[in-house]
């Protein structure tokens, strides 16, 4: 059971985060906090999503999720990023009943197991919600996603 949560891919992103660290220039920034556990993440995006930088503090799920987000969405056309974003949110809110689209979600399919742990879904979503706000502030037009 627990192995479904702590997939090798997740532990690898946690121990070796991709693209971590806040960078300039950026067009939008958002800082999100999970008040129940104190996890936090800051995300910066350029208007064309050519760079997504981040920093954070928290559990393996929230921090690996930020790393995967960086890898999946950086340099992707905004419309495509919105589709991936929506698919990830849907997967997380699916209570483990949704078959993830590996082609669309890449390493993020490893988070499918998280959806079975309601207390941890918010950990996985934390960077994605921060990204949504940062993108809106940057005027990334097509990232109209609902959560």
């Amino acid at each position: 059971m627990i192995e479904q949560l702590y997939q090798e891919i997740i532990l690898d992103h946690y121990k070796h985060p991709r693209g971590r660290g806040l960078r300039e220039p950026y067009a939008g920034e958002a800082h999100h906090v999970n008040p129940t556990c104190g996890d936090e993440v800051t995300i910066r995006v350029t208007a064309d999503l050519s760079d997504i930088s981040y920093d954070g503090l928290g559990c393996s799920i929230s921090q690996a999720s930020a790393s995967v987000l960086h890898e999946l969405l950086t340099g992707v056309p905004p419309g495509e990023a919105a589709r991936i974003h929506a698919a990830f949110v849907e997967l997380m809110q699916g209570r483990g009943q949704i078959e993830p689209d590996e082609e669309l979600l890449g390493d993020a399919v490893a988070f499918a197991g998280v959806a079975k742990y309601p207390a941890r879904v918010k950990c996985a979503l934390l960077p994605w919600m921060a990204f949504k706000d940062a993108a809106a502030r940057a005027g990334v037009g097509a990232t109209e996603v609902t959560a």
Binding site: M1, I2, Y6, G38, D39, L57, S60, I61
Partner: protein, 410 residues
């Protein structure tokens, strides 16, 4: 004093038979909420099945029985903490409400104004910090606080400067919910007396675990909650010296707290009724009374001694695991059965999740005491907390779990 028969005690707690994720339940989260013995559950069921009626307002038999049981619970709780009279016990929803009751009424009762000072500590649970912050915002009074030493004790080095002639009230945690520290408040109480300040103690983590005498503590008020001492949720208490409660204005207005009411004006009942507006948590109070009976029959000295043994064992066991850092006092002396720790390189959320997979239930996070986490430079901690039903085998299960955590994240 007889020692605690833990096997016999455990048989009284139905939930301890449960399995979690295929493992026997190892419940190490009693500082969060304790489990409930059958005796408490039976008392509440009996109340609802045989004696249910509203209190303090019915002439009928059931109403009289309910009132007798409710007031009987008040007397039991009063005796349990050595109060001078049952009328010194105000039933509340929980400790937070008890502290808020004092914080809300003290603006008027203490005539607080800019220049006055309220003193707390960095070790407080948010429930003994936020109400005082709000009070200071409303009145212009200044909030000041004791710091924490590196070994997790109150830093009293600035006592005379912190508690001074401007201090109106000192409100301190008696036993830390995160570090386990038992604060010896005698010097602070003596200093408060010297300058004429009142003293409130947050006893949420001490009344359930230590023999308590309000006279011995020397405080003016204490707050505690039923659900951490084998009782149900929804019932707590504020104890206050009768002459102080007498001078305090009402907190919540409504039924039961009045003397006479006209359309223009109301006069108020004496304490404790003055502070118990509306229908109270009747069955919950009766459940708390049964919990107090249960603890008294075991003898709180025996409960405390058992927890000291478990705590000593846990501190030693955790210290033997590489990469584990324990926060707070390193030995069981002056320490309650709450042990918070860090596992190197692993976030507490992940520690708690993997332990849960093995049936070991601990709390992770900031434990409603973020300033304590900040003081020790961490965002969160993993906390194991013990009670009268905790065994050394459960501590061994915790240790095996922590070793497993280290392997998963190795």
């Amino acid at each position: 004093m007889s020692s605690l028969d833990v096997v016999k005690v455990r048989a009284d707690f139905p939930i301890l038979q449960r399995e979690i994720n295929g493992h026997p339940l190892v419940y190490l989260d009693s500082a969060n909420t304790s489990q409930k013995p059958r005796q408490v559950l039976d008392a509440m069921r009996d109340q609802y099945e045989r004696h249910n009626a509203n209190v303090s307002r019915s002439v009928h038999t059931l109403g009289t029985e309910a009132t007798t049981a409710y007031e009987g619970a008040r007397a039991k709780v009063a005796a349990f903490i050595g109060a001078a009279s049952p009328d010194e016990i105000v039933f509340t929803k929980n400790s937070s409400e008890a502290i808020n009751l004092l914080a809300y009424t003290s603006a008027e009762f203490l005539s607080l104004r800019p220049g006055d000072e309220i003193v707390v500590s960095e070790m407080e649970h948010h429930s003994n910090l936020v109400p005082w912050q709000l009070l200071c915002q409303r009145t212009g009074a200044t909030l000041r606080w004791f710091g924490i030493t590196d070994d997790g004790r109150l830093d009293e080095s600035r006592l005379h400067e912190l508690v001074n002639e401007r201090t109106k009230l000192v409100s301190l945690v008696h036993v830390s919910n995160i570090l386990g520290t038992i604060n010896d408040v005698s010097r602070i109480v003596a200093r408060a007396r010297e300058v004429g300040a009142l003293v409130m103690l947050d006893c949420s983590q001490s009344v359930p675990h230590l023999p308590t005498s309000v006279a011995g503590l020397g405080a003016d008020f204490i707050a505690f909650t039923g659900h951490k001492m084998l009782g149900p949720t929804g019932i707590g208490a504020l104890w206050g010296r009768a002459e102080l409660l007498d001078r305090m204005p009402p907190f919540l207005g409504g039924g039961s707290m009045i003397e006479t009411v006209t359309m223009e004006k109301t006069t108020f009942a004496p304490p404790p009724a003055r502070f118990e507006a509306g229908t109270p948590p009747i069955a919950q109070a009766i459940g708390l009374g049964a919990a107090v009976d249960y603890l008294s029959a075991l003898d709180m000295r025996a409960v405390h001694r058992h927890e000291q043994e478990i705590t000593g064992y846990a501190l030693k066991t955790l210290a033997d695991i590489p990469g584990v850092r324990v926060f707070g006092p390193a030995t069981p002396e002056g320490r309650g059965g709450t042990v918070s720790f860090a596992v190197d390189g692993v976030h507490p959320h992940d520690v708690g999740q993997i332990l849960d997979d093995l049936g070991v239930e601990v709390r992770v996070g900031h434990h409603c005491a973020r300033p304590v986490c900040a003081r020790f430079g961490v965002a969160a901690m993993t906390r194991a907390s013990f009670y009268l039903y905790t065994t050394t085998e459960e501590i061994d299960a915790l240790a095996r779990g922590v070793e497993h955590v280290r392997r998963v994240f190795g």
